[in-house]
Symmetry: C3
Subunit: 668 residues, 3 copies
């Protein structure tokens, strides 16, 4: 990519009146340079079975092109037409609550053959209409694709075939999953019951794994079709999304992002984050680091808030100035595109209050005017900002298998795996340590000095051996509790815990206990009485060579360690056998970062610094102030030029930051 894309999603089809030319003119005026169209509008393109009306797409393309706007074509498949549901009711997915009624998007079984037939036909028709148009720079296959919790007969039948291929004889599966428990064993594949009612977490986790494979396969299938039409200069992407808790939140349990991204030319993601007083940059950085790590390359922010989501959960309209902060926040993590969802607010239905750059009145408004200013800046700085590369020394090593198996084997009603991932990431972020994400598909971990490994509850022998070798060869790991507890089938190891990690970690344990709150003996991290505690879960560790960083302060459990650190080979492994207070967690991560020799700036949140090398080979430091008060950086500023102001700095100057302000320092 040779420029920063600044774009919007555009739904010509949704608008009450035909405003195509007016909208194109306004986009141009605003400084928008790319428009995503097409997704979700299947019925508009094919109003009746086999009746195609895709010509209007040509008119859109022509018009946008006339205004110099580039276009990304989205395949429309994630929202099926009513006629298709009527014709093939079995397309509607069955989840644990029964079959979904028609209405919402993402209610189809993506592995259903009738769905595939019709999806392929509309994709091909759309590609035939659009692919060779000069406005089109790329394609997005489907949108926020997931398995949607499908567990109907069709999915179940495929799962049984998968199990049969994997295990051959049912008894091998019985053994691997422990199905003899409560007579759940199967001795004839024909007897295999639906997974809906299972109480076997191993089987359930395999089913989750299988359903993520369905997503990978489905997306690759769409990419294969699109690739038949794609021109050499065009790209294919997906709009991946994260877990959702009234906003983007941590790891997506329903997709293997790294696997699914392989079929794409470039990774795409949507990021919906806190706004107003809640704009802290955390989820922008999280989502950006995740998307960048998918292909170890720049990525597209395919959707992000324009005016914000304003509904019953009461999110805030972005403050004046925050649209600019947001845009640079995305770029600071390696995005090559910032695309708003969406151009105009929608006049009805489920997302009426997900406000676009334009309000429903389609007139210029403060957000639109601010976007125009941002666009002008971006256009000018584009050569200096595009293709920012990172060489991070730290990675969050996550696992979708751990995430989903810890839903089955929850350790708390209050928190889960994703809370830990999110907390650890945020802790790093706030101390200005940038990180990649990695999972088991990453072959070479040696590029990292430090891995943070949230509870790796399930892992194959090979995966654990790789992690052990990483430490042995000089790597540093910080492990969460429960790591290494079960094998790849979520069967608890019969060896003393932490089983395959025992030697690497230098301790063993046989017992653990639920706790409310326990202090650590003698406040070993010096965090003060009110912060000196662990909670929720406590493993009773007996050191076997590891240094003890923290012991329980308890009449009975005081004999056991809670937090340990062990030299192993040339590396070091730290283990946290409980859920520490935020203050202790901060100390532990700072310690791990320090011992691993990871460099970090001498500032912390709300002043956030993100660094990289731009396409021209210059080193950029984005410096943000995520607060409503003016801030300054902690100390003297390096020899550099602020690309936004042209101001030059050297070691003698302190950098002032406006509320929600940003500077982009290019090292000179």
């Amino acid at each position: 990519m040779d420029e920063i894309l600044y774009g919007v999603a555009y739904y010509y089809e949704y608008l009450p009146t035909d405003r195509l030319s007016e909208d194109a003119a306004m986009m141009k005026d605003c400084g928008i340079n790319v428009v995503r169209i097409g997704e979700s509008t299947w019925a508009y393109q094919e109003p009746q079975d086999g009746v195609f009306k895709t010509d209007y797409l040509t008119r859109i393309l022509d018009t946008l092109h006339a205004y110099g706007l580039k276009v990304i074509i989205g395949t429309p498949t994630y929202a099926i037409p009513s006629w298709l549901a009527k014709k093939h009711p079995d397309i509607l997915l069955t989840n644990k609550n029964g079959q979904r009624p028609y209405g919402a998007r993402q209610i189809m079984d993506i592995s259903n053959s009738a769905f595939r037939f019709h999806a392929e036909r509309i994709i091909r028709r759309q590609m035939e209409t659009t692919a060779r148009h000069p406005a089109v720079i790329g394609f997005q296959v489907d949108n926020e694709t997931k398995h949607y919790g499908a567990e109907g007969a069709n999915v179940q039948a495929q799962f049984v075939a998968y199990l049969k291929a994997k295990f051959g004889e049912p008894e091998a599966m019985n053994k691997a999953f422990g199905l003899h428990y409560w007579s759940n064993s199967v001795f004839d594949w024909a007897d295999m019951p639906s997974t809906i009612g299972t109480i076997n977490g191993s089987l359930r986790n395999e089913f989750e794994k299988f359903r993520r494979l369905l997503v990978t396969e489905y997306l690759a299938w769409q990419v294969d079709i699109v690739n038949e039409y794609k021109q050499p200069h065009q790209f294919v992407t997906q709009n991946f999304d994260m877990d959702w808790r009234s906003g983007s939140y941590a790891i997506q349990a329903s997709v293997d992002h790294f696997e699914a991204a392989r079929a794409m030319d470039i990774a795409g993601i949507d990021i919906y984050h806190g706004t107003g007083d809640r704009l802290d940059g955390v989820m922008i950085a999280f989502g950006g680091d995740l998307a960048r790590s998918m292909k170890q390359d720049n990525y597209l922010v395919v959707e992000t808030s324009a005016q914000s989501i304003l509904g019953p959960s009461n999110q805030e309209l972005l403050y004046p100035g925050q649209l600019r902060t947001q845009a640079y926040s995305h770029l600071a993590n390696g995005a090559n595109a910032v695309m708003y969802w969406h151009w105009h607010s929608i006049h009805n239905s489920a997302e009426t209050y997900w406000k676009g750059l334009l309000s429903h009145d389609m007139e210029p408004n403060p957000t639109y005017l601010e976007a125009k200013e941002v666009a002008a800046e971006l256009e000018e700085l584009s050569p200096a900002l595009v293709n920012l590369k990172k060489d991070n020394e730290v990675a969050i090593y996550f696992s979708n298998e751990a995430l989903t198996s810890l839903k089955e084997f929850a350790f708390s009603k209050q928190m889960d795996y994703n809370d830990i991932v999110r907390n650890w990431y945020e802790t790093l972020y706030k101390m200005n340590v940038e990180a990649d994400f990695a999972d088991h598909t990453v072959d070479d971990l040696s590029r990292y000095k430090l891995l943070l490994v949230p509870p790796l509850y399930t892992a194959s022998d090979a995966e654990l051996e790789k992690l052990n070798a990483y430490v042995e060869n000089g790597g540093h790991i910080l492990y969460g509790f429960k790591s290494g507890f079960t094998d790849e089938h979520v069967q608890v190891h019969m060896e003393r815990q932490p089983a395959m990690l025992r030697e690497t970690l230098g301790f063993s344990y046989q017992q653990f206990t639920g706790i409310d709150r326990l202090p650590l003996k003698d406040d070993p991290f010096g965090v003060g009485e009110s912060d000196n505690y662990v909670s929720i879960w406590a493993e009773l560790l007996t050191p076997e060579g590891a240094e003890v960083l923290g012991r329980y302060d308890h009449p009975h459990w005081g004999r056991y360690a809670c937090i340990t650190q062990n030299r192993y080979g040339k590396g070091q492994a730290t283990y946290i056998g409980a859920w520490p207070s935020p203050a202790i967690m901060q100390k532990l991560i700072a310690d791990a970062v320090g011992k691993a020799g990871v460099e970090r700036p001498n500032t912390h949140f709300p002043v956030i610094i993100r660094k990289g090398v731009n396409g021209q080979g210059a080193v950029l430091h984005y410096v943000f102030n995520y607060s409503p008060e003016p801030q300054t950086t902690a100390g003297p500023v390096m020899r550099s030029t602020d690309l936004l102001t042209g101001k030059k700095y050297n070691g003698q100057t302190v950098l002032p930051l406006e509320p929600w302000g940003v500077a982009i320092l290019r090292e000179d």
Copy 2:
């Protein structure tokens, strides 16, 4: 009506023993003069398909008549017999959770043909048996009729026919509702999916509107049947109910009360309200004002608490004296009947703890004895109390369309449209301003000086034009936020907001934001720091002629107005762009009342005054003390006679009120 009816519902059929004569004698002794019978007892009247046992009704009528008791016959249709459910299982309604099992009342699809056939047959048989009996003064059709959330195939088919009739071509519907969103559009009526799964709030709201039509039609159908038998001196009524939140609460979403009441001779309502320390008169007044407004006439309180509902939600037994307070509270709003639910407590099933005048022991008890005193007073005062007329200057202008569309487009998880209606009504009530209710069916609004219009989220152009004309011609309106936001199809207007109200209100806005709490700049209403705030929702208003009553105190939103007031034509329109604190709301309503020139007494809650002209042309002032402490009215009492004590007042006397006490001052 020429006397106050003081009555009970009576379920001869439910009682373990035949106590007909004893009960009639006790009713007579108590002073009861009217008894409602028949509703819910279909199976008793028709124990098997086509086998009728309605003769016992004659015996009941004869016995009650012998004791001089009048009778209201209720059609029994709201609880279907088990044999009917067995014979026609499709009568049992399907709602969003599936088909209802047999057992509860109100589980039938009221538009089902088989149900209609059987309902008509039993109604006719019942009418033939009872209509000409001299005891019978009127009829109640069905009971608390609603659509019960029906959305099965039968209702869906009718809805599609309705849509077809309304729109002709599906594309007209697509446009009106914005169905192109997420490919929900329909191009052949045969493809129309069930509304159950829709994510389109416009379609959903139309369905809600349609289902209310089913209720109107069904009740009119019953009235038509009954009218074939009705004698000239007899009346037909319905027992309407309100929304329910552990007691009667605001507007009923499932019925258009004003439309449905047209078929009735007189409006009826049930009112279940706070008791004991929670007896404040609010819901009695709300329900009374609503019922009286239905036909702008006196009404019947067909059900109200006897001993109260005493169950797991722990309502309180009415305190000694409160039965009297309650009775006069109803009459003070224009009721011509106060009927308890019910005569005797029921010895089993769902309402065992909805205690009647009699406890399960069927003996006289304190409540019964108090009713006897009340009856004696009422009988004596009946000529002076009956047919109280009101000429209110204020109306709450409500909208069932706004109510149901704001369920689809909720602005808060904590509160909804009905909370606002309830809060505004209560604020008026506590400052002793009496109000009517009005909706879009009221042609002449000019009788009112002031309309309070809770968020009128959806309205037709004609409706908004009527309201604009009302202001232009000198009316005053206080509008809630979101008013005028969408058209009659709940499609957001493409004009700058508040669209058709922009000129009337004298401002415009393009943006809004969710908020927790924001103060207003400089405490403009003088309510003090802790009360000076708005919450939940904030529209960012730019005045275009309106006076600004309140601005946000916020670094960014401080440039916008929150509350405005505008002269328009001869009238004035005030607008509240956020949800104000109770103290600010009180000030705003007081201001609107004052500027509109509405008179109100110089007292406030717990002393409540309700006023009217009785059938003899005299002006009555009911004065209540809704508190456990003695109270006095604020100042000198007009020249009047207290009908209860015979005591005479003139300007020099202060009126003392006992705890939960009442005086009825007739202006002399």
Copy 3:
């Protein structure tokens, strides 16, 4: 039984590797003397329809026998194989939420004929294989058997047959249950609707009663089969369980324990209780007293916590020493067996974190080592501890009918019948009064000086007459509110309340009210202002001879009594017309205990004393300290020997108790 059984459940079938010999050797080493096997492993024994593999059981028996371990054989029927569900899908039960999917245990309709056919076949095969083996000392039929909420067509059909047999004509049922309410009456048995949707609490309660009969019948059916194979020295038991609220809790609503236990030779129960700081002995005592009362004999604790349940609800690992406290706690109530659930932790599925004596590593660990110490002590003391008999003077008189009918007719959203049972039991327990449980099946109540009767909401005339006669003949009863309110069909009596108890209790009432909190006049129990209150429910009692122990302090209800005490015949009956504060409840129970002449030790919780006569005729006093601090008994210790230390006491010595410590004093 001639020795204390100290045992474990063992699931050879679940283990990833064959460890039979190692496990047997470790059990022997640990001091385990009995092992329960077989239950839940149907699929392992019969992997395909009619294909039996029960031979492995012989190998298990041989191996365990070789190590001198005794065996209890559990029939495997409570977890059905997948092939059975596939073959007979109708076996899967339908409850109010629909049909259960395959997966969990206890998902079958226990009255289904196909299930019975297959269950009988596997039981017979298992018996043939095991019954004559010398290791086998007894059998457990099924496990934690309940009706599982079954209400499918099969159960419904049986229920209708049951009603027909009970009532003959439908109209008799209509009358008994009050089905005329809301037209629910039935005039032809063929019209009888499913009970799922009923709003008639009488019918619902009869259905609950009927479903408990299904359990009684099913267990007796299994016992009949087993008895065909049982040798004279062998026993049959069941593992009954209690209500469950994150641990064992009060009375089981789905089984009539006393009825179902008749078919057993010895009662069995599982008890899961608070651990760590929450180990207070209450539920151990409750469950023990309940199980002992079932057959007025010693009982087996078939399951109790080993390391505890460690999962998302965060229970605590038993502290070092608590395994011993727990074991003696069970024995102190008359248990002849303490069996852990279970030997080893399970490596997968629903109970992975219900930790056994062994952790997943199958190595010795602190819990195992502590069990070994306990075993050694028990083996030595076994002759002195076995067959402890009680002669309690107090009984909790409970009623499953009251429990389930008060679910239909709830008096509070916060608490229910079981909370009262649990609270009253705990109050007795903490003042060191031991109690039996009794229900309507106990013919001779005269053995008790005092009965505590929690709200006996429904009872037959015969039952109430028995209780009245009990008082008349000198017994003492403490009744909860609502006692005697309805007849055996849960129909409210038409007599003035408390109807048949009126004369015995010496008061009557007609009215009651929900309350938040009300003080009692003049703090009659001297508990101080903050504890002087009743809450939730208040009956307004008018004394008719009874002494008033407490009156409401309220402007209106002050004229009524709340708590009364009445001499009747030679006995006394106390009644509590509201829900008192814990402090008042404690006073009332202490008063009742005192007036009834029940002896109790001069100590209270956390020092708990449990007493009995051992098989050798000696009187034992178990003295426990359920606290983390050392304690001493209140005063001088009787002439006795501590069986655990050999230390001798006489009147001059104070008994010191370690934290969570125990002494077993044998009177000398």
